[in-house]
């Protein structure tokens, strides 16, 4: 695991300064005259002990594995020599169930797959399905979807930051992050009525327009969030313990990261500036002004910096989206996919038949297939649809970014200490609902 040496300026929370303003050092050992002497490590005897490698299970029921992940570790002393991940404890067959559902009926399943990014998944699914149907979306819908995706990116990164702090031993940022996440959930609740399982979008539009005053509330949130982010930044970025636990741990080079198929912050921390929003844009992301943060070392510390910066960039995108949110309808005017208004469905025969056919039979896409990648907080999430012209997809495939990112964990942990396994695992940002599906 070759990493370049680098210097991170570290601050201690309680610095004692001497009369010249320089930080005071606390001597560990002093000689008779009271002068500090260099500490000499005691001789190590353990190397001569010869033992068998030890097999241990981390998980599947372990709080630091972020769900039901089981890592079978082979240890030589405290060093991991082999790591065999076992997944599938949460396998529900989402893709199989999707083959028996109409397109709009699959959207609730996308909530439950990567449940920290549920509204982002809804939007991604709708984008893919719309391309398959050949329908467009309205301008207002486009901007609302950008707002939804960036809000959900903020939620996901905040949860990642909070839980990773817990794993590494810092408790306070966890509370700050979860407080802010609560604010986003309150916003989502006002919009679609649900907090976690939003099911916010439909093929051709959204489930509902945003309520009155919602945009101002988001604007207020966007204004207050940077304070929390800056606070967390001050707390962690130069924290000696945080740097010690994360810098140089679990590093992957750019070539390794590309070969392993990593995506999202994991790939960018290794120095590859691939972001689906920039390279294969959707929702007109090319018209928003934002930067893609890239790391240099590919270690946990860089992944932390990348994710922190991504929250700030999401705030920038949100500000621009709120400023340009146009008025107008949310749903596209296309009777192939959009239901007639309820008032018409109960008063006009044609609308009632139309409503009945769309609900009972479902909209039918033409024969074809679509792979729709979006930049989810975890990485490149792709929905792959294959249609044979009926109302239910022949194949609905989720390209799970966390699944592919997790597959690189043996590469990252082998040779590291057991305690680093927890930190490395946290840095991948896994959601087992998405990995097992």
């Amino acid at each position: 695991m070759a990493t370049r040496k680098r210097t991170i300026e570290v601050e201690l929370s309680t610095t004692g300064l001497d009369s010249q303003g320089r930080p005071q050092r606390v001597p560990l050992m002093v000689d008779e005259s009271g002068r500090p002497v260099d500490y000499e490590a005691p001789p190590v005897f353990e190397d001569e002990l010869d033992g068998e490698p030890m097999l241990i299970n981390v998980g599947p029921q372990h709080p630091a594995t972020h769900g039901v992940l089981r890592l079978l570790l082979e240890l030589e002393g405290e060093v991991v020599v082999r790591c065999v991940p076992h997944i599938g404890y949460l396998h529900c067959g989402f893709e199989k169930i999707g083959e028996y559902r109409q397109y709009n009926q699959i959207i609730p399943w996308t909530d439950r797959e990567d449940y920290l990014n549920s509204i982002g998944n809804n939007v991604a699914f709708s984008l893919g399905a719309e391309r398959l149907f050949g329908v467009g979306m309205t301008e207002r819908c486009k901007v609302l979807r950008v707002i939804a995706m960036e809000l959900s990116r903020i939620i996901s990164h905040l949860v990642w930051l909070g839980t990773t702090c817990i794993d590494i031993g810092a408790f306070t940022p966890f509370l700050w992050c979860f407080q802010e996440r609560e604010n986003v959930y309150n916003l989502l609740e006002r919009w679609v009525g649900a907090r976690l399982t939003t099911t916010a979008s439909r093929v051709g539009g959204m489930a509902a327009d945003v309520p009155e005053g919602w945009v101002e509330q988001v604007a207020h949130f966007v204004k207050t969030l940077p304070r929390t982010i800056n606070e967390t930044d001050r707390m962690l970025t130069k924290n000696a313990i945080w740097v010690g636990r994360t810098a140089g741990v679990g590093a992957l080079t750019a070539a390794e990261a590309i070969s392993c198929g990593l995506s999202g912050p994991m790939l960018r921390a290794s120095g590859v500036d691939y972001d689906v929003r920039k390279d294969f844009p959707y929702l007109e992301y090319e018209t928003y002004d934002f930067e893609v943060p890239v790391g240099t070392q590919g270690d946990i510390y860089d992944r932390y910096l990348v994710r922190l910066e991504e929250i700030r960039q999401s705030i920038r995108i949100l500000e621009q989206a709120l400023a340009r949110l146009p008025d107008g309808p949310v749903n596209v005017d296309d009777p192939r996919v959009i239901l007639p208004p309820k008032s018409m469905a109960t008063s006009e025969m044609e609308s009632m038949i139309h409503h009945f056919k769309l609900v009972m039979e479902g909209p039918r896409p033409p024969i074809g297939e679509v792979y729709m990648p979006v930049e989810s907080p975890k990485g490149e999430k792709g929905y792959y649809f294959v249609s044979d012209g009926t109302a239910k997809p022949v194949r609905w495939r989720i390209r799970p970014p966390a699944f592919v990112n997790l597959s690189a964990i043996p590469k990252m942990v082998e040779g590291h200490l057991l305690s680093d396994v927890i930190a490395i695992n946290a840095s991948i940002d896994i959601v087992m609902g998405e990995i097992d599906r």
């Binding site: 079978l72 082999r82 893709e95 391309r131 050949g134 198929g261 920039k278 390279d279 792979y371 592919v404």
Partner: protein
């Protein structure tokens, strides 16, 4: 191997248009990915057909030749498909149609996306060559494709099931002949699971190579057998 900033799209000319959200994509037809023509030129007898649907180019390859084509796409300077997005399979409801294995490839330097497909007749053995040595990320994706569809990837270093457990013997869940609710009733599934692991135990002290033998990759199994025969 150095760690440095790798800029995506470096192989494109400086005046290449910036990527933009595609609009008004036609159902069929439209511009074809230039790699498709390159593959056709390089492997004229291996390409079965090329389709462009909703703006995405699909190249159908003769199954025995697919590994060769993928290797060329990955390694050739004019293509550089260095990123494997996805490996998966598609089975149609029409039972007579062949099962398809799909590779979604991405070229970072040329900013291209290509879908490569092979069609495997269902009455023959479902086998293709593994690409784990070209893209390490293919490892788990191929294991999942095997687990869900029963397609064997020849040369895979660790061909175990991944989402289902090792002793699962009801077949391949995403195949169309597999019923949505599974092959057996819930009570029968539970009974089978218990009989498969008669001594199933979750105590950590009992985690020995013998009790987790099935969960180990092949090379670890061999190593532990060799160790136990030495003792």
């Amino acid at each position: 191997m150095s760690i440095g900033r790798m800029v995506v799209g470096s192989a494109l000319p400086a005046d290449a248009p910036a990527p933009a959200t595609p609009r008004d994509i036609p159902h069929t037809g439209g511009p074809e990915n230039p790699s498709a023509a390159a593959v056709r030129e390089r492997f004229p007898d291996a390409v079965q057909r090329v389709e462009v649907i909703w703006g995405e180019t699909t190249v159908y390859i003769d199954p025995p030749r697919v590994r060769e084509v993928l290797e060329w796409l990955n390694g050739d300077e004019s293509q550089r498909y260095d990123y494997l997005s996805d490996v998966t399979c598609v089975e149609y409801r029409d039972f007579g149609r062949p099962l398809q294995v799909v590779w979604h490839l991405r070229s970072f330097p040329y900013r291209r996306f290509l879908r490569v497909k092979v069609e495997l007749a269902k009455d023959a053995e479902l086998q293709v060559e593994s690409v784990t040595d070209l893209w390490e990320g293919a490892n788990w994706l191929e294991r999942e494709a095997y687990d869900m569809f029963g397609v064997t990837f020849r040369g895979h270093p660790d061909p175990r099931r991944i989402l289902m457990w090792e002793t699962y013997n009801e077949g391949f869940p995403l195949r169309k002949d597999f019923p949505l609710r599974g092959r057996f009733s819930r009570s029968e599934q539970l009974r089978q699971a218990l009989t498969a692991h008669p001594g199933a135990s979750y105590l950590l002290e009992e985690l020995s190579p013998a009790s987790i033998y099935r969960d180990l990759p092949a090379d670890m199994r061999e190593r532990y057998i060799a160790q136990s025969s030495e003792d």
